[in-house]
Amino acid sequence: MSEEGEKTESGKLATEGLQPEFQVSLLDLALTFNHISLASFGGGLSAWSREVIVVEKKWMSEEEFLSALTMCRILPGANQVNLAVFVGNKMRGVPGGLAAIFGLTLVPVLIVLALGYGYFTYHHLPALQNILRGAAAAAVALTLSMAIKTGGKCLKGSVPLLLFAAIFILNGLLRWHLLPCLAILAPLSLLWGWPREKKS
């Protein structure tokens, strides 16, 4: 029962500067991000975020999510914390952002602290390392499958395929830092993505 005020009224939105598309409770936001972060043991947090936010909850469209993810990568800060702020803020303004961060980090901080306590007191955690080794292999798979699934939707045509291949080669194979990769490729993608009226 979501009421869509999506595109029409733009311009100044008085109070928070934001208009939630539909009301999500702060508790729901916190629990959702808590679920995302706990599910991500072994890694693959971006893939989990997409799985929950786009596929399950439908809070964002595929494209909106992907562009938010890249913006959160460009901005300083941990990508996932940034994404939580971004999504929380989109849904519920400042309290939403805080609820999302809180949900994302509270339990993991407690877990990491417990592990740190164990580590600095007993100096090793062998069983845990074995479990995590297996989980990490599956978490990588989740990330790869996210690339395959979103790629199937976004990479239609030769220009997007070229952009995709170029940044994969530069960032993944040649291990360039993110900034030089984007300095070269972001202007090209914007040029391609710019809405055009009638030129062909």
Binding site: S40, A137, L144, G151, L161
Partner: protein, 184 residues
Amino acid sequence: MNVRTLIHLLTLFSALSLLSIGGGNTVIPEMHLKAVKDYGWMSDSQFADIFAISQAAPGPSILIVTLVGYKAGLEAGWGQLSGVIGAILATLAMMIPAGILVYLVARVWENAKDSAFRHAIEKGFAPLTVGLVLASGYVMSRTADHDWRAYLLTAVCTGIFVTTKTNPLVVVAIAGVLGYMNLV
């Protein structure tokens, strides 16, 4: 608790928060330099170990700062209590400055719903993001998968995720059990 340690934690991590362009892992070398060499909070190998713990534990991998703060607090006196205080301070200092920046950008973004610029970013950045996700999957597989069994497990799981609607948590948990039994 030693107040200078508190101040060092706050200044170090709020600075790193704003310097971590491209994600938390980009400032790991700087964090290592400060925590091990400059402040002497821990040894080289301890830093490497808490890095591994924070990478594999659930939640954002940047929670390595929680453990750096914890160890710095332990070193500062008062035992576990100052450790926990250090952990909380470091975690907040790492998240808040960057979080405020994201908030400001998100506001502008939300107000620019119909701008050509936003449309261009949403359409144009999608292929780049897919490429970056694939790149991080590739890089992660090089560090997570140590032998052919792990690569095989990753390949099988990828197939499951792409072709079925199995709950990923089930798959990750099974993989964790395989790891526990030393099969991977």
